[in-house]
Amino acid sequence: MSAINMSRRQFLKTTGILGGGLVIGFSMTGCSSSELPITLVQQGFVPNAFLQITPDNGIRFYCPRDEMGQGVTTGLSTLIGEELDVHPKDMEILFAGVHSDYNNPDFGVQGTGGSSSLKAHYLQLRQVGANTRGLLVAAAAQDLGVAASAISTRDGHIVVAGKQYPYGQFVQTAASLEAPTEAPLKSNAEFRYIGQAFARVDAAAKSTGTAEFGIDIDIPNMHHAVVRRSPVAGAKLKSVDKSVALNMPGVTDVIEISSGVAVVAEKYWQAKTAAAKLSPVWDEVALSKVNSSDVRADYNQAMQQDEGVVDTDEGDVKAGLAAADHIVEAEYWAPFLAHAPLEPMNAVVRIENGEADVWSGTQGIVAAQGLVSRFSGIPVEKVRAHNTYLGGAFGRRGTLTHVIEATEVAVASNKPIHLLWSREDDIQNGVYRPASLMKIKAGAKNDGSITAWQAKRVGGNITPKTLQNMMPALFPGLNDGTIDFMVGLSRDVFAGWMVDHASVEGLYEDYDTDNKTVNHVTVEHDIPLTFWRSVGHSYTSFAKEGITDELAEKAGMDPVAFRLKNTQGNPRLNNVIRVAQQHMLAMQPAEGRFLGFAAHNSFATDVAEIAEVSVIGKTIRVHKVTCIVDCGIAVNPDIVRAQMEGAVMFGLTAALYGNLELVQGAFKQSNFHDYPILKMSEAPLVEVVIIDSGTAPTGVGEPGLPPIAPAVASAVYQATGQRLRSLPLKIA
């Protein structure tokens, strides 16, 4: 296996494929001139894809990104509202339908992920708000016969000489004028909503059971479908006796579909009960013989024997190691994980008169549209895709097998279908965070400066499977053969030619040294993989921060001081560590409690975390986590805090419990009793310190996660002297 000449950037340009975070940088539909998926209300005025203003001053915002809990409806309405001078609480916020105007500017496709939303839309939505405000001011100037310069705006109103006129009064005139394209934006000092910690706009709906999730969709004559799938990924249905289910009450259809066999009934519980009666027989595939111990053995062998593909080769690592006074070398392990969002996968599909509707909470509604089109044969223009609130996603709702299934069942049964996965389906038939074996060898001088960093990772890659899932969705017209070819190509490319960056991101970047190498060996066992909150960083941080602690100790330095010393070239991370150090120095943990520290940059955001931990017997208890974050301007500081709190809990579940084990190709775990999620009684207090560096916002949904596992491991070392290098953390 040899390194390649073609640069990564060039490759991405040529193929349009992008590893890590999300995917694919070309226009899918070319439909920017097509009709907007907006229903007019009264004599509503639609100045652009994001807004509708009605004569009674109703202001509707069509949110282009998906609300999965990260607060994006609040965040994006704050951006547009800031420049439009309308408080988010005074807007009606709807989820946008499918249109290229709603593309994520970072991805060039209508997708949500990679902690990108606020960063990607920061200037775009503010500009849209400012332009619309400019248009309303021009209309008001004309209608009121005053100079535009005599007009100001406030809270959805035109203000002239102290008198207020609602925006809605001017929409008719506005509709006859050209909107400015580059209306001036406010300076940071003029912000009224950006930077304010007001309540989430969706909190009331979500506290009264009125927020509508995909699972809540209910349409006339809707039937319910439950699918039995092979416990081993990729194994096809060999045979099934359908009659046992067909004879059950309420059951209308039993249908073989691509992923298994579906039972359709009038009610969910009937479908569920009948599906449980089936005894489907599945094909054997290569994966059917694989156990967790085989995966680990294959990874170990690859780590020892296979040099793999070079991702990064800077300076001279050999010389760097030779120059070191202290060298450490260790292997770190992270297992397969499921996302387990609390709302299991579901979709509603209706096909009628050559048209279709699909409702599902997705991280890319355009993909739901494409899949329905592809699997029903109905052209995309005739498929209306409706987004809903997402009951958690964490990367899981980018893969829409459930939409394919619902479409297949709707076509075959000729009924509107509500298809719902169980928790068992979610844990056992999902797409997973790849397991990883990582090895780092690093050296430092007596003064603590790192001289060399040699890293290697063994495991599967997420990009080929992501392509396999997304290409049929985004290119409904492309035939299976072409897609298989491209997916195969990407698989081969990443196995032997270049590194899927998502596989190694975070393993080597943060600390100063001129001498770095990163190698990667792809070992896969046909387990479907995808991005999982913080993607590669979710495991690389554990190895990177762990080895940093080990090296600091060997060099005889305080681990925090050691990190400060080695982040001179990374000033924002350095500052976050410095602030964290001050907090840590002021802490006085009670008897039996120990502090652990870790820091990590991901999604352009810097986070340091201090975990206060006790170990009693074999139980690790995390009492408090202090989280220092620099994400540029905190558009809504309270949501930044919430995302840090949430990411800490999510990361702690992985650090303390998360583990999927493979038995004969099937995951053994099935529900929350054996795939436990952190409970309130185990949850630490979380204190969040936001450093507002005043620059444009960067991600917050994911960056709070990577530091927590290594911070806890570091505290466990203080408490017990045990260096835990395997996740989940287990006291020996």
Binding site: F213, K267, Q270, L342, E645, G646, A647, I677, L685
Partner: protein, 162 residues
């Protein structure tokens, strides 16, 4: 035919008596506020009150609630007329994805009804069957404790008046 009282109204259904209450409430009576998370009594998303007792309704057959009072999140409070816990939930921006929150609020309401002055350990004990995958625990706990304090203060003031 099974009859019970759903949010104050008598209802009846001919769903199979073994059907879990959750699905009868969601699919037959079309109240979608109570959620399905695990189907095994492990997450609390389906929590309702049965005669004031918080119960996991994904594993509770309707035969067990015949003649009893069933209260769902819709019966606890509405957008226009919220339960004090719901108001406090909004003020503290407790929800993230929101999917677990109906169950969290129902569990919390039952706790405060039975124990108006809970300690932190009481809250942990009562709420630990309610999973929040988004990790809103810090806020859920803080909000329950602060609502309890408000209630106590309010009751004390009432007593003083009387």
């Amino acid at each position: 035919m099974i009859e019970f009282i759903l949010n104050g109204k008598t209802v009846s259904t001919d769903d199979d008596p073994s059907t879990p209450l959750l699905w009868v409430v969601r699919d037959t009576f079309k109240l979608k506020g109570s959620k399905f998370g695990c189907g095994a009594g492990l997450c609390g998303a389906c929590t309702m009150h049965i005669d004031d007792e918080a119960m996991r309704t994904c594993i509770l057959p309707i035969s067990a609630v015949a003649g009893r009072q069933v209260t769902t999140i819709e019966g606890l409070g509405t957008l226009d007329d919220m339960h004090p816990l719901q108001t406090a939930w909004v003020d503290a921006s407790v929800p993230q994805c929101g999917y677990c929150q109906s169950g969290q609020i129902m569990a919390a309401a039952s706790l405060l009804k039975h124990n108006p002055n809970p300690t932190e350990a009481d809250v942990d004990a009562a709420m630990s069957g309610n999973i929040c995958r988004c990790g809103c625990y810090v806020r859920i706990k803080g909000t329950i404790l602060s609502v309890a304090q408000q209630n106590l203060a309010y009751n004390a003031a009432q007593e003083q008046k009387a």
